[in-house]
Amino acid sequence: MSQSSKSNLENPIVPHTAAVDGPSGKLGSIPIKPLAIIEPGRAWSPLNLKEVWRYRDLLRILTVRDIKVRYKQTVLGAAWAVLQPLLTMLIFSLFFGRLAGMPSDGIPYPLFAYAGLLPWTFFSNAVSNSGNSLVGNSNLITKVYFPRLIIPIASVASGLLDFAIAFVLLVIMILYYGVSITANLIMLPVLVVMTALLAVGIGGWLSALNVKYRDIRYALPFFVQLGLFVTPIIYPLTLLPERWRWLLTINPLAAQIEGYRSAFFGRPFDWPALAISFAITLVIVIYAGYSFRRMERSFADLI
């Protein structure tokens, strides 16, 4: 370990041929360009999705861990994934469908409500879990390096299994009520990706804020509850007067929920609304991504 000033002089300029990324393979071959540079961050650093991709094994394992741990030592296990939207649907069917006579676009109300509650349960669980994910994994953050974004992403991804399980019940209900399945269903994966992206954006951003402001933990459940009412889940979009309907397009989830129903029930899609929703989702995700990167630098010092 010589003094740095001395060896700076004998730093030869060599054309760089070595691999820049990943393990250099054998020992002793020092790449010309550093594999990593550590320095004080600028206010806006690039997103570095490549790094997230490099750690995809960790993402997978964290997702599997979240799933395994969630239903460990529960009697009903994964049945909770179905019970949550199912019981909500039953209660809503009774109060809104039966007693209040809520319209449901000609679809039996229980099916109508469940079709909305299925993606909503996924979204709301994903946002609350990922919002609390960084704080819940503080032991990892202070002890190891990895792209922190993996933690909230894993929380969202682990919710997909619950979604799949609950989806089985929807299929059974569709068959029971004799609603025909149409080609519209091919849009389902696209919609799921959109909802997951939106959840990663919002949940990831909140999780980063939560590191510094623990208020998030208390505010989150409340706003998630509000979300249920500002999104057409228990009521159809058509319930709103025509001139106010545009208000709901600000809520990117609204068009997505309507989209799910179109996919399930073979109704025409509202493409412009979906396009706007997608655009808003992208803006949220990109903003959240950069914002996360900026806050990420101080996680270990603050958490």
Partner: protein, 407 residues
């Protein structure tokens, strides 16, 4: 040869005081922002938020195959340096270039989950430390073998004993394959046999030509493993180079950090301690503690005697030296000061920081002055020269000289 790690002028600043709290709430933030102009008028803010540099202007180069010990007292900035190198926290100033993949082990068992089985935790922990799944697969048998927990592999981790968890954790880490390995005092845990196993393993890692950065307070482990050293003191790199010379600097200088005590204002009693200096001489296991004390005499008093107490770092009593058990200091009219030198033959103490108190009295019930926990000395090497594993005060502070024969 070109370095594998190149650090230039790295520094890390923390705010101390009320500024950044882990549990800040938005309300506090708002209140603080609102109050800031007010504080400025009152001139408060400058005092409330002080910057604290945990590291300052650290530069070094580490070459492939170096095994570097990072040495320093508690709070010298060792862990902060490791955290910066392992990209857990960002430096405030400076730049580090890494020319190899870095794997860090700042805590054994990071990411272990009690509900998951031993096998699942191996994959979990391995991937957190940056291993690929295929890599873990190829090493799985070795890991299981090294940890010795094969019977419990499919049992939830929460049923494991602490020792088993630890062995499993180290086993995973030991099979990490990065070009640069960063280790923070992980040997401080586990039983003696396991510590030895870990040391051997680490020795193997360094022999294989990997670069290792190693933080430890264990002088034996440092000399056994490392070729080079970096000495940190109060966040500043004071010495770099060959491990033995760096250790010598550490042992030589840091030892007398708190060894001199001087009273800042005159004492109340007729005779009081004014200055006490402690120093060590000799080598383990036969070291001597030399206590020089100077007493100010205000008024003539009965003949007196002194004693020196040795306490552990937490202030627990270990022993008391009473060189002469009857009064031997006599004061005549006009005596203004008395100086004494007390030599204490130390028993074979385990490494650690020890404090001393000094007492003067004319009878064991008649205290004239008693200055408590005023100075400290540090034992850095083990009393048993062949010992490579850590001492723990759980087993007492003294390692008596003993011998054994097979009969």
């Amino acid at each position: 040869m070109r370095p594998i790690i190149k650090a230039q002028g790295i520094g890390k600043k923390f705010r101390i005081g009320a500024s950044i709290e882990a549990y800040a709430t938005i309300r506090e933030s708002l209140v603080r922002t609102a109050k800031r102009p007010l504080d400025r008028i009152k001139g408060v803010s400058a005092v409330a938020n002080q910057d604290f540099w945990a590291l300052r202007d650290i530069s070094f180069e580490i070459f492939p195959g170096d095994v570097v010990g990072i040495i320093g007292r508690n709070g010298a900035g060792k862990s902060t340096l490791l955290k910066i190198l392992s990209r857990i926290t960002e430096p405030t100033t400076g730049r580090v270039e890494l020319y190899g993949r870095i794997g860090s082990l700042l805590e054994v068992g990071t990411g272990f989950h009690p509900e998951l089985t031993g096998r699942e935790n191996i994959y979990m922990n391995g991937s957190i430390l940056g291993m690929r799944r295929s890599q873990i697969n190829t090493h799985l048998d070795e890991i299981v073998d090294f940890s010795g927990v094969e019977r419990f592999l499919d049992t939830p981790l929460k049923r494991f004993s602490t020792g088993m968890q630890l062995r499993l954790a180290f086993a995973v880490a030991a099979h990490l394959d990065p070009e640069i390995l960063v280790i923070d005092e992980v040997l401080a845990v586990g039983d003696a046999e396991f510590q030895k196993k870990c040391l051997n393993k680490m020795n193997g890692v360094s022999k294989s030509g990997r670069t290792v950065l190693f933080v430890s307070h264990n002088t034996q482990a440092l000399t056994a493993l490392c070729s080079k050293g970096i000495l940190l003191r109060d966040g500043i790199s004071v010495c770099q180079g060959d491990i033995n010379s760096v250790l010598a600097d550490y042992l030589g200088n840091d030892r007398d950090a708190e060894t001199v005590w001087e009273r800042d204002k005159p004492g109340d009693s007729d005779i009081y301690f004014e200055r006490v200096a402690v120093s060590l001489s000799g080598d383990q296991p036969k070291m001597e503690l030399i206590v020089e004390s100077r007493m100010r005499v205000k008024r003539k008093f009965n003949d007196s005697f002194i004693s020196v107490d040795i306490l552990d770092a937490g202030g627990g009593y270990l022993m008391q030296a009473t060189p002469r058990a009857t009064p031997f200091i006599s004061f005549t009219e006009g005596t203004a000061e008395i100086s004494t030198v007390t030599t204490v033959e130390l028993p074979p103490l385990i490494p650690g920081r020890y404090q001393i108190s000094c007492w003067i009295g004319s009878h064991f019930t008649e205290t004239i002055d008693w200055v408590r926990e005023i100075a400290a000395f540090e034992i850095v090497s083990s009393p048993s020269s062949e010992r490579t594993y850590r001492h723990s005060s759980d087993r007492g502070f003294c390692v008596p000289i003993s011998k054994v024969e097979i009969i």
